[in-house]
Amino acid sequence: MESMTIHELHEKLIKKEISAVHLTQKLIEHRNSREENIHAFLSFSDEEALAAASRTDARLADGEKISPLEGIPGAIKDNICIEGQKCTAASKMLENWTAPYNASVIDKLKALNFISLGKTNLDEFAMGSTTENSAFGPTHNPWDTRCVPGGSSGGSAAAVCAGEAVWALGSDTGGSIRQPAAFCGLTGLKPTYGRVSRYGLLAFSSSLDQIGTLTKDVTDAACVLNAIAGYDAKDSTSIPDEPEDYTKALAGGVKGMKIGVPREFFGRGIREETKKAIERALHFYEQEGAEIVDVSVPHVNSGVAVYYIIAPAEASSNLARYDGVSYGFRASGSKDIIDMYLQSRSQGFGEEVKRRIMLGTYVLSAGYYEAYYMKALKVRTLLKNDFDKVFKICDVMITPTSSGTAFPFHSFSDPLSLYMEDICTVPVNLTGVPAVSIPVGFSDGKPLGMQIIGPNLCESRILKTAYAFEQAHPEYRKTAPKGEVEL
């Protein structure tokens, strides 16, 4: 088996066992053979990728030092802007939109001469948890192509899982990195709100959106986070504190740590196999010298309702910019300007995006603002207070990432029952804290995820906790069928 993590490939590059161009070509070949069945990508950027790879090879030939991510091909969710490339958000609205600037994370990655093999599929404007809402067709789960990869970063997750990219960037507004990571057997990290710049991420819900990483293991997550974290003057919600070297503390172990288990996260709808897998993990941590403590997040069941008020409210405001005037889709044959707005938006947006705009407009409208929006903001405070209290008595919390494994396409007939699936992930965005999902076992041949949540800016702590489990359980990091790349 080929070792295909960033840190292992980096070793091969600096020992000159492989070249960056060779690696990139092999990944392109592999991707081309898999895309018919997976559809992880919306566009490719092979020429730019190979050009970046040859620059790395030239630098290596000159004896220059390369950073850990350099020369290792990744993929970028198609709601993050790369100058000169299409950025569609998987929407007909932006089908032909070319980004005129780079997202700040892309500027940071470009400074490291990064390689992107293309832009990955998502639920339209990141609204969804299956990638079925893409205007350009769904992505399939590499573990079982009859199942969804999760979402909204389903394309990024499937690309890494299927061996079509070594790492990927995603965005997480209510679980959109962690849940697809769980469904695809990957490490999915949502950093603290403000730790990674949102500049150039197409806005969905600005108080919840956060860019993060999808990788094959915890070390890789730390490695990509190192490349993208940090203050950005272009994002006024950016945190000024200097980021750490997140790879430094990984091997610190969990001895003496207090791990909180909020029982409320193990209620409604969580499958037995998920609970059992996490019980086993908790037992492991106890044997490693951590203390397991029962904690309570009494308002966790409010999370879905609070989220599906706040996120659509912010979305209805953010998506008002798509009016057919200065960019994006414009319907033809409109009789006046209002008609042009109506037709462009109605033809450009898909059903779920329209539902969220409608919901958001409603909860913000006169007469309902207090009852829905203001109420949600206040319950958000109660949830945040719960989290603050919990982190006074424990170092991290462990919960399921989702109720079970990846489910077949079209499993949910109504939107609300699908929203309910987000119960374990949305509280993290509402409170802003960092969380990581890692593989915790398998059920019926498909991966299960465990979520490790920490206090603000404690990315190193959650990654260290994740790393301890991962290193002791290599059997949970199996490669998906046909995910091996011949180098």
């Binding site: 709100y193 006024s236 009016d323 300007i337 329209k354 409608m358 939107p415």
Partner: protein, 94 residues
């Protein structure tokens, strides 16, 4: 609190979206189902609780008033559905 057909039409116009009758009816019923679920929030006592707008502490973010270049005229227009004389062109407004 349920949305009536009249309200649904009003929200659609405010949202700058148009729907066929059947489509709007379907949208309305899914919204009503979701909004009924939202009523669960009424079980939580929020008297005297401050709203949380952002999860991280808010502070005014100011920068020095130094002029700097933004996006070029050409780049701003490159995705325009229609343009004329370096301006965005739209259908008749008045």
């Amino acid at each position: 609190m349920k949305i009536t057909s009249e309200e649904a039409k009003k929200i659609a116009l405010l949202s700058r979206l148009s729907f066929g009758d059947e489509e709007l009816d379907k949208m309305k019923s899914s919204m009503n189902e979701i909004l009924t679920y939202m009523e669960e929030l009424n079980q939580y006592d929020t008297d005297g609780t401050e709203p949380t707008v952002h999860a991280v502490e808010l502070y005014n973010v100011m920068r020095e008033d130094i002029p700097r270049s933004g996006i070029s005229h050409e780049k701003a227009l490159m995705n325009a559905p229609e343009q004329e004389d370096g301006c965005f062109k739209v259908p008749k407004i008045i």
